[in-house]
Symmetry: C2
Amino acid sequence: MHYEPPEWGTLSHIEQARQALPQQVIAPPLRQLDGVGLMCESLQVTGAYKIRAICHLMNLHAKGLGEKGLALASSGNFAVALAWAGRHYGVPVTAVMMRRSHPWKVERVKAWGGQVVFSGDSTEERTAALHDLKEQGIHIVDHLTDPQVLVGHATLGLDLAPARPRQVIIPASTGGLLVATSLALKQIDPLIRIVGVQPKGANALVDSLRNGELCRLETVVTECDALTANRPGDLPWQLAPQWVDDMVEVSEDDVRDTVRYLVEEAKLVVEPGGAAGLAAYRSGQIPHQENTWVVLSGGNMAPERLAQWLL
Amino acid sequence: MHYEPPEWGTLSHIEQARQALPQQVIAPPLRQLDGVGLMCESLQVTGAYKIRAICHLMNLHAKGLGEKGLALASSGNFAVALAWAGRHYGVPVTAVMMRRSHPWKVERVKAWGGQVVFSGDSTEERTAALHDLKEQGIHIVDHLTDPQVLVGHATLGLDLAPARPRQVIIPASTGGLLVATSLALKQIDPLIRIVGVQPKGANALVDSLRNGELCRLETVVTECDALTANRPGDLPWQLAPQWVDDMVEVSEDDVRDTVRYLVEEAKLVVEPGGAAGLAAYRSGQIPHQENTWVVLSGGNMAPERLAQWLL
């Protein structure tokens, strides 16, 4: 089986992007727990994988950005990463967040000096608000369509490759991390099985793949505040049929149980969306293949909210 | 400055002990947060550093142990590690725990197949209960006096050495981990500054060093359930004057604040005793020297208890 990457997404492009990331972007700890590997991207700087793509974009654009800087739309973790990178690179940044974005994440963006603009909750409203910023002279990144965002995400696959995974389980919202990780790993070894996971109440990519057309959800209902896309990204949607082997849906109860399990057994704080992949694996929906790795994609959960989940 | 180790504690003994540990005993993640290094021993197998000494003792004794197996006294983490190692090496194990030992830790020992015997809370009562087991033909380890326990602890210093620390901050109860880590590190570089930390309400080693004689506390009052020794160990007490550069006391409020800080900023679950070193550093009592590392020595905290601390 051979996987032909898009011209912007060859292994050498991804490797170059990885090498150019600041040293603060770590290769996260890889741990074993109860027979499954945990890629602890929750321990990444800013607490989620998003910093990879942001820093890659900064490396590409920082010198050409004017004083208006860079903007993107995010439910939370992308915005937090943007704020960190804005400070690191000395670039003004603006995040389009949702009215329902978790206040802890909004405050974190502001604390690191990022501007915040609020939009409605749908992907369309967020994109519209982002394009409004473009008219003000701000350089905008549309993560649904920009291949360089996927190149940034794909660097995560390179950091997992030394563990020689046979199966990798990845949470999905618009599907960017999912297809990007596959892009890196299947170019290294096409036999690595890639499984995406979405919450039952936010399953736009699952639904789209099932129906063979890009579906928009009317409502999104999930505690996984990092996985609330009401539609797949354009590029993920194009790439998923070839690059993703299976998709699984996970229940809110299984996510909740897994967040607690990770605190008790792994001593890790993982946010609901970040734990969705492991929750699906623990629910028995994914074959227990040797050398299975789960991406714990983020850990940004307000302490008070975590407390409620642990009681 | 030259440090002469005791004959059982040379660097080559410690290195041999490290090499013989099972692969499950990891070199824990080393991370930077707000300008200080975190040695995440809380992510160690069984959630604390104690597994090092237990596995070292098993390597030394396992073949000679009869069907009665091995016993030791522990407030919790040592017992949890003992139970894990008992299963790993196929050796029956018994833990003398305190009536006030945290139930979560007691249950964990039982869950991994360890026997539990309860004793009174003082170090003397625990030692007496341990010696009762000896009369039943069980091989006992007295961690207050056994140099091989310190050799096991000292392997942690070897895992930190590649970070080239200039100052290392370590929580102390009987003081075993503190002097043992110093034993390893000062043989590698005598200029590394070693600072021990105790809770104000469980400061037996601080008190002893201050008074120049081994002090016993009448009462121990701290939420740091891993740091409840009412007296220093005999060997730590002998070694501390030479091998420890400074001792600091930390308040319960500072510990509580730091447990929360580690959840929010580092996405790590660290138990109160495990966070005591960082709490002291954050309180400003320890000079902010470049390349300072703090040992987060354990993460075993019941989820319900953590929840109470986060609300």
